[in-house]
């Protein structure tokens, strides 16, 4: 009996140790994946600067995009038009969808009865799962002809079309995050506000929205990250003209569409492919920056909110 117990204890300790090691390995291993990806991108993406001797300034700010598809190099790798294309489409998407996101989130958490909420919430979350190529396909076959019909634009393919498709894509991300953040505002704050004679709007404006600010911003950043990273849906509707996004009604290119269409054919080890890898590296760094921002933001609100 005593041996049985001692044995059980010993076995428990041994299993504990093994499990802890394995699980820690998996945890650290998972965390290494993005570092690995980062390392690969760094390896390939810095060729532009170290092998082909372009300056970071040229890559970021020059509008001359004419890399040579050879290992000798000698072209121009100004990616400013792709960068600005990405930023403009993301900003446009945000402008288009944010009002809808916030009002839907407010509706879900503050106005809807639990029954309605139970219907709407899954519907909104369903949006998240819709494949981006399907968005792209509908954008291509419905939105683009429609835009060509109602606006004075030569192609239909345009920054506006990309903005619309992205707006629909990031809507669920921002809405669910914002709704979660608002729902997480303690009921007691609402009660206290009502108890002081505040109306629902006063409570939402003065208590709920300020308190949920952090979550809403996190949602916005995640939405932007998704918009920035979307390749195919944008590629299907933006027209992929290698110009700066000067008009809503004209085509343009983004970082992702340029990679998606040119990477496959660019010569391995050539300047063209190096420039594309540098764009991929840029995307990676931007996502990292986004996450960093979210953490900063949350930490700041923790400090303000914590005891």
């Amino acid at each position: 009996m005593i041996n049985a117990l001692a044995l059980a204890v010993r076995r428990a300790h041994r299993n504990e140790k093994t499990a802890r090691i394995l699980i820690t390995l998996c945890g650290i291993g998972t965390a290494l994946v993005p570092f690995l990806i980062g390392a690969f991108l760094l390896l390939k993406g810095t060729d532009t600067f170290f092998v082909f001797h372009h300056s970071l300034g040229e890559f970021l700010f020059s509008g001359v995009w004419n890399p040579s598809d050879t290992a000798e190099g000698g072209g121009h790798v100004g990616a400013a038009m792709f960068l600005s294309g990405s930023l403009v489409t993301c900003a446009l998407a945000l402008v288009l969808s944010l009002p809808l996101c916030i009002s839907t989130a407010i509706f879900m958490t503050e106005i809807a009865t639990p029954r309605t909420r139970r219907l709407i919430q899954p519907a909104v979350e369903l949006f998240t799962g819709i494949p981006s190529v399907v968005y792209g396909w509908i954008g291509l076959t419905v939105l683009v002809p429609f835009l060509r019909l109602i606006f004075p634009m030569p192609f239909g393919f345009s920054v506006l079309a990309a903005g619309c498709v992205l707006a629909v894509m990031i809507f669920p991300t921002i809405t669910t995050m914002a709704a979660d953040a608002m729902a997480a505002v303690p009921k007691t704050w609402r009660e206290a506000s009502y108890g002081l004679g505040a109306t629902r709007w006063e409570t939402i404006a003065h208590i709920v929205l300020p308190a949920a600010k952090g979550g809403i911003f996190t949602g916005i950043i995640l939405g932007l990250a998704r918009a920035l990273g979307e390749a195919l849906a944008v590629a299907m509707v933006i027209g992929q003209m290698k110009v700066f996004p000067t008009s809503l009604f004209l085509p343009a290119s983004t970082l992702t569409t340029a990679i998606a269409s040119d990477m496959g054919g660019a010569m391995e080890g050539g300047e063209y492919s190096a420039a594309l890898w540098t764009m991929a590296l840029t995307l990676f760094l931007l996502s990292f920056l986004f996450i960093f921002l979210i953490h900063r933001l949350n930490r700041a609100s923790d400090l303000k909110g914590g005891k």
């Binding site: 030569p154 027209g239 992929q240």
Partner: protein
Amino acid sequence: GCGSSNDANKSDAKTQAVSGSITGSGSSALLPLVKDAAEKYKAEHKDVSISLNAGGSGTGLKQVSDGSVDMGNSDVPADTKLSKDQADKLEDHKVCVMTVATIANKDVAGQVKSLTRQQLTDIFTGKITNWKEVGGPDEKVVLVTRPKTSGTRALFKQYALNGAEEASNQSLETDNSGILVQSVAQNPGAIGYVALPYLINDSTVGSIAIDGVAPTLENTYNGTYSVWGYEHIYTSKDPKPAVKSFIDYILSDKYGQRIEELGYGVSSKMQTKEVH
């Protein structure tokens, strides 16, 4: 031969039959032919699986050279896209001749039947921006082109535009020939270029002659139309049996007839000695 498709000695045929997988990618201009050949070939060789992609000649060359596909299809010789070292490691199979045609949206093609080489160059380099400058309707010129990795573009640039670089910042770049045809058909005032086979069954766009010479197979054979090139299938020096057998099939006389039906030219009929 035909015996292999005979049901009676099917089991025999199977033991001799090649098997394995073939992957190919590259030239979208050559894709219709390779696809057609694959379908016919597989009818006789049930154990071979063939997967094919477009993507552009550069893509095909790159991928065959890094080994991610077995066949790299290209409109241009390998050494124009790859380094000498890489190109030397590949085996070239010239399977046919491909003619590149200038195409335009119907509204333009109805009025502008032919352009001079200079006009064409001016249009594609962005110097001419309205069709009325070349006798067409008062409509803006919309350039629809292919990316730098395209073999069609390389041929067109070399033989139609006298080597002038097209104005890529004014053009809609399309991933392959198929979508180029669609885009030209959908956009008024659009002009682009595509391999002849894409026009065989297509009436949505009109073709434009160069210096009065229409882009047809006859004109290519007799040397009057100069925008053409050999179509290459590149493989490694020592391809898998299945790959070898497939390429042999394409080059066989039996399949030769089919090539013209699809809109490609047969190499042996070329009367000019130009090397494209």
